[in-house]
Symmetry: C2
Subunit: 324 residues, 2 copies
């Protein structure tokens, strides 16, 4: 048994240190072969965990809300892994919410694992590293993996695409809330949560969200996402929201949407891996026997033009290959 296979076995046995070591290995990607073996070893155990995404503008109360959700899930004896992602600060490792949670009561609970995710090193960026980390927690038997992002930009959207369902948290009083969201953000929410529902403007925000979602429905033929109202600090609306989440998951499990979503994710992953590997082989190709150098000489001395040369070389390459 290789070291990596042993590591995978330890992850399967829910060994906390093995989990942490696996994620470090994935994140740092100093050894691509080891990383690949580890992910290969984990693959057959994945697919059981439910992956939530939670996102929304800073100040929406995502951490308090997450704290409440974790409390409820723990009461049901479910285990939860949280991946805190903040791509905007690669050096801090996006630990803002992770740190806050860590300081709370779950820190001493073995059923909760909190990890912040940095984008350093990983070829697929922070979304690629997060996708791989989900597999580690899934293999380790966590019932829920919750990925949360601070802020709502393009990278955050990519991260959210890794989730089975996305909770988009909004809050009244942050200005022109909906308008301020970037294009594509409203579309990623499967369930909307208006937190701090006791604040002025909460009901108006709910109506606005429902209005915009109604417009989207007409355009996309996707059913309108539910809009829930909560107050995380007052512990209100949490159970109702959990019911909505449970119903939603049951629905997408039943109608094949969950499987479709996971297959989309696999397709993206395969595309990404294939591109990276083919580019590496292209680089290798260009360097065999310094052929690039001799091509440069030929082009420089007008023996051949760049496209004519490369179309021939790459044409030969393509003709010979036997994709199976």
């Amino acid at each position: 048994m290789t070291i990596v296979q042993k590591l995978a076995q330890q992850v399967l046995q829910q060994n906390t240190r093995a989990i942490a070591r696996s994620i470090s290995l994935i994140e740092n990607e100093t050894d691509s072969a080891q990383k690949e073996s580890l992910l290969d070893a984990l693959h057959s155990y994945c697919g059981r965990a439910v992956v939530w995404g939670i996102t929304g503008p800073p100040g929406a109360g995502k951490s308090s809300l997450l704290d409440r959700f974790i409390g409820r899930l723990r009461r049901l004896n479910k285990t939860v892994a949280v991946i805190a992602v903040d791509p905007s600060s690669p050096f801090s490792g996006g630990a803002i919410l992770g740190d806050r949670l860590r300081m709370q009561k779950h820190a001493t609970d073995d059923g909760v694992f909190i990890r912040s995710m940095a984008s350093r090193g990983h070829l697929g960026g922070v979304a690629g590293a997060t996708a791989d980390a989900i597999k580690v927690f899934d293999t380790a038997g966590f019932d829920f993996v919750i990925i949360e992002t601070i802020g709502v930009g393009q990278t955050e959207i990519e991260v959210m695409e890794l989730a089975d369902l996305v909770l988009l948290v909004l809050v009244p009083g942050l200005g022109d809330e909906i308008q301020a969201l970037k294009a594509g953000v409203m579309e990623i929410g499967d369930i909307f949560i208006i937190n701090k529902k006791d604040l002025d403007g909460a009901n108006r925000l709910k109506r606005e969200v429902e209005y915009v979602l109604g417009l989207q429905e007409n355009c996309t033929a996707k059913s309108t996402p539910p809009v829930c109202m909560t107050s995380a600090t007052r512990d209100e609306g949490i159970d109702d929201t959990l019911s909505v989440i449970t119903d939603y998951l049951e629905k997408i499990r039943g109608n094949g949407q969950l499987a479709a979503r996971r297959k989309d994710r696999i397709e993206k992953e395969l595309r990404h891996i294939a591109s990276a590997k083919i580019m590496a082989s292209a680089e290798h190709f260009l360097n065999i026997d310094s052929r690039l150098d001799s091509w440069v000489e030929d082009v420089f001395h007008k023996k051949v033009s760049p496209y004519k040369l490369l179309n021939r070389k790459i044409g030969e390459f393509l003709k010979e290959l036997h994709w199976q």
Copy 2:
């Protein structure tokens, strides 16, 4: 003779409309095969023109200086093509300086062709489009092609790498001039020009530049670039600077630096084209007989893990290929 070969012939005959049409074809890249044929047809005629780059912070007086240089070159009966690049504003097409020049006396001079370059469409970005445009002007027999950028960022550095020699224009009174330049900018200058030499601080700036260049020399073992003083508006220092430029060109022609530089450029171009073509073939590979779809099913149903699958497929692909 194909339409594109005919177009190339017309470019060779210095037909202005053919030149403009060729650059539009390159820039828009709606038809990649046509673009490739055109560039193939031009290739054997290229390499005669001397390519200058001129860059520096906004307000340094690049356009007035360029106006003076063009005037001098025209008196020597040399023809000049100017490519104005402004990557920061893809929609305006970077026409700021181009427009200014167009409005001046050269607008009615057949020996001067001014073109602004937008980054739209071109796979290789604005630097790729500029590289191809240089080939058109070179084929059309322009003695000098001058590429100028507004501002000095990363893309501008890439554009400047297309030149045989780079004039970096600085001016006193823009604040902490040298410090304000981004990393890598000082390194691209082959000849430094301090314009508005009659302003306070011009001599101090010259000493500072020489000091920084002296430090660089110690680090890079590259000979220290000359620093010229000009006043474009007063028409002072222009002829001296032109002598410095001429001497510099003679030197790099003699010692092989010019050829080395052009070969570096060809290498980058070949790498870029090869990557783009191999990626396109990878995309094609993934779509043959919907194989990606069936792989997604296999991975989803745990028949195989992503890396195991792709390493096998890509392994077969690499084993079979005969790069020649």
